[in-house]
């Protein structure tokens, strides 16, 4: 009997592939269904945002930050605002900080809903996606009422936020939270505890805690590997120390610690915590101004700083160098997706091709955030 003959083939996946969450390309070397290696090829969405920053000035750059990560635009706004405030030593009014936290946490829920929804869709479960998007649309409506935009918000300013909460908005937001809490349980019973779903996610794309730190994974991807680390808790910023919330971590409940299921469940549980923060923020919000007095011709003193915010995709680092003029000398954004893409080549070895899709979705990679 002759031995079974196999041959290595090179496959191209993307850049316009429905499951790659934007414009990503992989060059896959596979033997049948098993991958030898998947080499990511990024850059299709490079818009030179860091170069633009050097040319438009501090205030003018705020709308561009939305485009760094349009799923989580509140956090990119906040990161840029915080970096400028730190350079110039500006104090944000307390109500402004509360508005930021409220907008950002709603954005986090929206971002995680999209992430867990597309996770199901990538694996082949279409219905959960529509459920998640239904909830996300309601958040979009709320945020639209707040700042006039549904995706690229441009809500924050250096020194605070652009607009106060509109009249009656607080009640609407609280009513939404009442509606949202049972929805999560419904969502969980719809998909999270489905046996087929767990089989597809558990033990796939396992990242050990050491690897997660070595590759600089951040946010839910880091916490999925069991590391209890959240910038909101551990390097507190804004008014987060005033709220009570937990940091969910992966425990390897369904398979190995740090598998795709762990990362997925961290996101589900984080939505609950975000809702908790929102309830506290909406009831505790103090009166007062929302925007500090910042000169229109904003010129922070020469110096450099790095600020870190906990975005939906984790610790987002803004490194800003000022030379004392009205234009930043250098801006660099270190994003969670960039780091997450770096580990895919290593994770892909020995995986099935179908599991590559699972891994990308479980790392919650957003293409514009990689390329900037």
């Amino acid at each position: 009997m002759s031995t079974f003959h196999t041959e290595e083939m090179t496959l191209n996946m993307g850049p316009q592939h429905p499951s790659t969450h934007g414009v990503l390309r992989f060059v896959v070397r596979a033997d049948g269904e098993v991958m030898r290696e998947a080499v990511p090829d990024v850059g299709y969405l490079h818009r030179s945002i860091e170069k633009i920053a050097e040319k438009v000035g501090y205030h003018g750059f705020m709308p561009y930050t939305d485009r760094v990560d349009y799923i989580c635009a509140m956090f990119t706004n906040q990161g840029w605002g915080m970096a400028c405030e730190r350079l110039a030593g500006i104090e944000v009014p307390r109500r402004g900080e509360y508005c930021r936290v409220i907008a950002a946490e709603f954005n986090r829920i929206a971002s995680h809903l999209l992430s867990v929804g597309t996770m199901g869709m990538d694996i082949g479960a279409m219905t959960p996606f529509t459920h998640a998007l239904r909830e996300r649309e309601m958040i979009n409506d709320l945020i639209e009422e707040l700042c006039g935009a549904r995706l690229t918000f441009n809500y924050m300013r250096i020194g605070g936020v652009a607009w106060d909460l509109p009249p009656g908005w607080r009640e609407k937001a609280l009513a939404y939270l009442d509606h949202f809490d049972p929805i999560l349980d419904e969502y969980n019973s719809l998909i999270s505890y489905n046996k087929i779903y767990i089989e597809r996610l558990a033990n796939v794309g396992v990242i050990t805690p050491e690897e997660a730190i070595g590759y600089n994974l951040v946010g839910p991807n880091l916490r999925g590997s069991g590391i209890k680390w959240d910038i909101r808790k551990d390097i507190p910023y804004s008014v987060y120390p005033e709220f009570e919330f937990d940091v969910p971590v992966g425990k390897g409940e369904w398979g190995a610690l740090g598998d795709s299921m762990d990362r997925y469940m961290v996101r589900i549980r984080e939505m609950k915590e975000s809702a908790r923060i929102l309830r506290q923020a909406l009831t505790q919000i103090p009166p007062g101004p929302v925007l500090a007095k910042v000169p229109r011709n904003f010129k922070p003193p020469a110096g450099e700083c790095q600020v870190r915010v906990e975005s939906g995709r984790g610790d987002m680092g803004w490194y800003v160098v000022s030379d004392g003029t009205g234009y930043p000398w250098r801006v660099h954004v270190r994003t969670g997706s960039f780091a997450a893409m770096g580990i895919i080549q290593k994770l892909s070895k020995g995986l099935m091709i179908a599991d590559l899709v699972t891994v990308i979705a479980s790392l919650d990679v957003v293409a514009p955030e990689i390329d900037r």
């Binding site: 850059g43 350079l87 730190i213 600089n216 450099e304 610790d315 900037r372």
Partner: protein, 169 residues
């Protein structure tokens, strides 16, 4: 440990290979000799009192007379961070890679190579990452002039809006 205490510890250990300790606000930093960066970084990672287990950010800055590579190190265990810099000659910036110490350096160094033209010696896969393979020049350098077209595709829009880079600062 506070950043300045960390830099002081480096100064004691490495003497004149630590070129400068700047107390600039808001973030102080420490400049080291490019030839010693691997040694310093390895010390910072392995020393139990520093234990920098994560290279949180690596970026490059063009200062017109030199190029600086900036390393933001962070310790999850001890919850402190530090900023290291190396200053490189602008005409042929070269520094050894930190890939063997922290895996995350691989992609971040590719990005610096791509956008600022810094060569990382010993890097396993030094290719362009964001720009096309055949793109001329390094876009984040201050003297970079955008080509008017790329493979017959115009980079200039027919628009009354003044191009941003021709506007006077």
């Amino acid at each position: 440990m506070e950043p300045l205490a960390i830099y002081q510890r480096l100064k004691e250990r490495f003497a004149d290979r630590v070129v400068e300790i700047s107390e600039s606000k808001p973030d102080p930093f420490c400049v080291v000799d490019p030839a010693a960066i691997v040694e310093v970084a390895r010390f910072m990672r392995d020393d139990p009192e520093l234990a920098m287990d994560c290279l949180s950010n690596e970026s490059g800055v063009d200062y017109k007379d030199r190029i600086e590579v900036v390393y933001h190190l962070f310790s999850y265990r001890l919850r402190h961070g530090a900023v290291l810099k190396v200053r490189l000659a602008r005409d042929n910036p070269r520094v050894h890679t930190l890939e063997e110490l922290w895996k995350s350096a691989n992609w971040m160094e590719r990005e610096i190579f791509d956008l600022l033209g810094v060569t990382f010696e010993g890097h396993s896969d030094l290719r362009r990452i964001l720009m096309p393979e055949d793109w001329p020049g390094f876009p984040l350098r201050k003297d970079f002039v955008e080509p008017l077209e790329y493979h017959g595709i115009s980079t200039v829009r027919e628009s009354p809006i003044i191009r941003l880079d021709t506007k006077k600062k």
